[in-house]
Symmetry: C2
Subunit: 159 residues, 2 copies
């Protein structure tokens, strides 16, 4: 519960806080993806992964053969949660590129290693970077912050 | 990173810790669900919700019209994460029942209110309890705990 003196954050403050969270070292996110059967039945999936904010994009590094990588490649969409359930940042993103770690441009790979607490180049076999472009970001702490929670819409910060 | 003296927890300890997390007051979970288009394209969704452990089941309370409630009703499946990304409890569950809050048996509604920090009966219109049966639960902290992370399989604790 918010304490009696707390006020909902302004949208500008939420954008500042969201960027700070996206850029913080050794940051993990919950990454949700979905797949569908041949008969069209949808299946949810969810795992924690290191998240890096680089060049206005989100980078993930994971095995190309993993369920999450395959689902995001197939559907082009993912939804990610950062923070905890009472200091939420939720991101809807589209997959822009899949880059094998062994073939990645140096600036991308350096960007990943600089923020994450590991470097997939140390054992790149089978690993890829997913480059995700955020389309919508929502940020809230408690119920009083539900209004105004959309801080990015259609890929643009809401100012 | 685990400190040099840490040891992977035993499976028995992980089950104890998992139950403690499931039963803790005012517990939230990240709830992933999936829906599919008419053309079979799958879409992931993810929101935080209060979670209650009751009678070997997980209870959620949410608007029947919400995307999460509709997706879980349609697919019968959800995947939930508790804890944080370096003390993970991941649950694959199936929907067993959807119970309108206004019609819920007293023991279920009391069970929800006892553990959660709110009571949907205070404004029940349009709200339902989802009764979820866990099929698989995984629990790990760091990479050294990836082996042995499955603590429930096919609905039974792995002992």
């Amino acid at each position: 519960m918010p304490d009696a003196t707390s006020q909902p954050r302004s949208r500008a403050q939420r954008i500042t806080d969201t960027l700070a969270m996206l850029q913080s070292p050794a940051r993990d996110a919950w990454v949700a993806s979905a797949s569908s059967d041949d008969d069209g039945a949808a299946h949810p999936y969810l795992i924690p992964l290191s998240l890096v904010w680089w060049d206005e994009r989100i980078l993930l590094a994971l095995p190309a053969a993993s369920r999450t990588a395959r689902s995001i490649a197939a559907t082009s969409t993912t939804r990610l949660a950062l923070g905890h359930t009472r200091d939420v940042v939720l991101v809807d993103a589209v997959a822009e590129q899949t880059v094998p770690v062994a073939d990645a441009p140096a600036d991308l790979a350096e960007g990943y290693a600089d923020q994450a607490d590991w470097d997939p180049r140390s054992d790149p076999e089978g690993y890829v970077y997913l480059v995700l472009r955020p389309l919508r970001i929502q940020a809230w702490r408690e119920v009083d912050e539900m209004p105004g929670r959309t801080v990015m819409r259609d890929g643009a910060w809401v100012t």
